[in-house]
Symmetry: C2
Subunit: 162 residues, 2 copies
Amino acid sequence: MISDAVKKLLLKNEDTFLIPDEKVAHVMNTNPLNHALLVLTKVGYTRIPVLNIEGKIVGLIGLADIVPTMFDLADIQPDNIAELLVEDVMVKEVKTVCQPYDIEYILHLLVDDPFLPVVDSHNKFTGIVTRKEILKAVNQMAHTIENDYQIMPLAAIKVASQ
Amino acid sequence: MISDAVKKLLLKNEDTFLIPDEKVAHVMNTNPLNHALLVLTKVGYTRIPVLNIEGKIVGLIGLADIVPTMFDLADIQPDNIAELLVEDVMVKEVKTVCQPYDIEYILHLLVDDPFLPVVDSHNKFTGIVTRKEILKAVNQMAHTIENDYQIMPLAAIKVASQ
């Protein structure tokens, strides 16, 4: 369990947590891998979501998943990926979160993942929550907690009450 | 200014903040770009540090910096990078931090950068501090703050003292 005061302050800006789907670059699972390579080259993110035709998230893909398949030992063979689809190389294990946010769970997952896809009750992709946005909320919390709360060391309270 | 209690608790695990240089994949500024491409393909990080012969950090490089230089419009031409060095495409603006850590500054910088190179007093690269490690410390802080501190809403204190 995390501190209630910390939780409340972190969630104060929860409206800013979601980067909505229309602002998140993505590809479709049936796109040619060459298309994903072009998109990833332009957006500069490590990985982006892979959606199926129903708008559900089915994977993640990044340059690090594509470039290795272009190599024959140490030579780059672009033709190696000519026949492949996004779904052939995407990472299929994706942890998702939904609203209302469980900030404790989000903090826990973001230790290992740079962003988390957010899905609605029909499991459709609605956007992402990123380490960047959560770190902004942590900053804000650390700066403002003493505006709303008095924080006293328990040791000092014990001494005072003796 | 951030809360003293939050700062203290975040710094409680500061020994774990540094991922030391020997554990951080890096390339040299004078390495052929093909070498960086191979290294990046293996490590799977977005960007890694670029060091010069003196062990100083002179840039960052990632697949997103290399792959675009391989493209002629939509065709991949691996030969495009055959003559290039790491320093030809690396990102040269690098914000660094040093010890003892200024946690407020680190939290601020990590909003925009996924990791920060740590340098010593001679400006030599000694390792990195990552969003991942700081998020671990935030988790720990949020879970343990009420073991050491009493957090009272100021509004409640005002009412009680009336």
